[in-house]
Symmetry: none
Subunit: 263 residues, 2 copies
DNA sequence: ATTCCATGCTCCCCGCCGCACGACACCAAA
DNA sequence: TTTGGTGTCGTGCGGCGGGGAGCATGGAAT
C-alpha cells in the first residue's frame, strides 16, 4: 500500500470515526505502529487530523458537538450561515414554518430562534431541541411553538416513516424550508435516504410554499431518491459559489433564485 | 477507550441528559470515578460542560435554581430502579412496548436498553435519545427500533397534542408502561397536565396490556386530569414503601400488584 | 553496485489511569 | 441553627501502556 493511499485511509477513518487509535489503524492497514504514528505526524502538519494520546481525532474543536454532525455543519459555515440569514428574512411573526432535517436547516433554525414568535414543524430532533432548550438557556423564553413530527429515527437524526407522513397530512404550513442532499436538473431535489425522501415529500405536500435551502456543493449531486422536481420549488436559496450553469438552470426552473452573500 | 472518545461521550451524554452523575458515567464508560472527574475538569475548562456536585451539567443552563438541586431530582433512588428492573423483566424479544414520559419510565428505559431487541414507542424525547445514542456510544449497536411519537413539547419533555394522539391511533402495542403523577382510589391514575393526560389515554387505548409504574409516593396524589381508573390497569408495579391501605386498594382494583424489592 | 528512503524494531521516558486516604459538601434531623 | 451521617472531591503513589529516538533491514532508483 502506498503512503498516499494510507494517508487517505487514515483521514477517511478519522472523519468517519472522529477518533481512532494508532493500534487499530496499524492493524487495519497492516503496518507497524511507528508507521502510523509517523503518518499521523505528517497529517497533523497538514492540519488534516489532530494528534492525541493513543491515536488521532479530527482537528478543531469538533469534539464539542455531536457525532457525525458537526463535521458537515462546520464544512462551509460561512455559506450555510449566509443562506440561513437570507432564509430567516422570509419568516414573519405568527407563521407556520416547516423545517426538514439537515445541516442547512439546522443553521437556519439557529437564526429563527432569535427571530419572531412562530410555529415550527420539524422532523429533526436536533432542531426541536434547539428551540426547546435553546430558549431556556438564553434566559428569556422563546415564545415559538415547536411541533416535532414523530416516527423512526434515521442516523442523521431525522424522524421518518408512516407515523411522520401521517402526521404531516394533518398539517398545513405557510412555508417549508427544505434541506436536500443533492439538486440536479434531471434528478431534481434528492436525498440518499428513501424513508427521508418520503417524509420530505409529505412535507412538501403539506406546505403552501416550498423554499429549498442548499449550498453550492449540492448542485450536480444525485441522491438515490427524488423528493421533488426543480420546478416544484417556489424558491431556492444558495450561496455565491454556485456555478453559472446552475444559476441558469435554477433560474429557469424555479420562481426565484436567491444567492446569499456571505458578507 | 481513548480519552478523546470519552470526552466526546461525556459531552454527548450531558447534552442529552442535561445532568449526569460521575458514577453513572464511570460505569457506562468502564473507567474509574477519578478518570471521569478529571475528564469533567478538563471539559469544564473548555466550557463544554459545567461541574456540579456529583456530576456535570450543560453549561450556563437555566436548569439550576438552587445549588445541588439537579442531581437529586434526576437520580433514581433505589425504589425507582427496583421498579424498573421488575418491569424490564416483563419484556421479551420482539415485543412492541410503549413508554409514556416520566422519570420512572425513563429509569425503565435505561434497563430496557440493556435488554433484548424490541420495538419501543414513546412520546418522550429523552427516552428516544437514550435508545438512539446509548446505542452508538456503547459500541455495540442496540437493535431495538424506536418510534418517537410527535407533537408539541411539554416542559417535562413529553410530546403531546393531536399529532401525538393521532399517531397512536395507528399503532397497537403489546404492552404499555405508564408513568403517572398520582394514583388514588377516587381519581385513579392522574397527571397535572391536561394535554399529557390526553396523550396517555391514547397510549392506553393503543395497548393490549396496561402496566402502571409508580413509586409509593404517588399514592394518594390527585393530579388535575385523570388518565385511567385504577381498574383499567392490568398491573401496577410499585415499591416496598407502599402503605397497607394502598396495597389493599390496588389489590382489589388491578389484576396484579407487584412490589419491587430494592435488594 | 551504490545510494536513498521508507519501514520496523527496541529501549527508555512520560503521560494516563486507578487505588487509598483524608478533607469537604450536602442533606436531614433535632 | 447545630449536629451527625453519607457520599463526593482532591492528592499522592504505583502500574501500565503509548510515544519518541536511534539503528537495522529491504526494496527501488540511479
Amino acid at each position: 500500500m502506498l503512503p498516499a493511499a494510507r494517508h487517505q485511509t487514515i483521514v477517511d477513518t478519522v472523519q468517519r470515526e472522529r477518533v481512532v487509535r494508532v493500534s487499530d489503524l496499524a492493524q487495519q492497514l497492516g503496518v507497524s505502529l511507528m508507521t502510523v504514528r509517523r503518518d499521523i505526524e505528517l497529517l497533523e502538519e497538514g492540519g488534516q487530523v489532530e494528534r492525541i494520546h493513543g491515536g488521532a481525532k479530527l482537528p478543531g474543536g469538533a469534539t464539542t458537538h455531536e457525532p457525525g454532525f458537526e463535521l458537515k455543519s462546520t464544512q462551509f459555515p460561512a455559506e450555510k450561515r449566509a443562506i440561513a440569514v437570507e432564509a430567516a428574512g422570509m419568516v414573519h411573526e405568527g407563521m407556520a414554518v416547516g423545517l426538514s432535517a439537515g445541516t442547512t436547516t439546522w443553521a437556519l433554525a439557529q437564526e429563527l430562534v432569535k427571530g419572531p414568535r412562530i410555529t415550527v414543524v420539524t422532523n429533526s430532533v436536533r432542531i426541536a431541541d434547539l428551540f426547546h432548550h435553546g430558549a431556556s438557556s438564553s434566559g428569556v423564553p422563546h415564545g415559538s411553538t415547536v411541533i416535532l413530527i414523530g416516527g423512526e429515527r434515521t442516523p442523521s437524526d431525522a424522524l421518518v416513516g408512516p407515523i411522520a407522513t401521517a402526521a404531516l397530512k394533518q398539517l398545513h404550513l405557510d412555508l417549508l424550508f427544505l434541506g436536500v442532499h443533492g439538486m440536479d436538473p434531471d434528478a431534481g431535489f434528492t436525498t440518499p435516504n428513501l424513508l427521508e425522501a418520503e417524509t420530505d415529500r409529505a412535507f412538501v405536500a403539506a406546505s403552501r410554499k416550498l423554499v429549498v435551502v442548499a449550498d453550492h456543493t449540492k448542485w450536480g449531486t444525485q441522491g438515490m431518491s427524488t423528493i421533488a422536481a426543480l420546478e416544484e420549488a417556489d424558491e431556492v436559496i444558495s450561496d455565491a459559489g454556485l456555478s453559472a450553469d446552475a444559476r441558469r438552470a435554477l433560474g429557469e426552473s424555479v420562481s426565484r433564485l436567491r444567492i446569499a452573500s456571505s458578507s
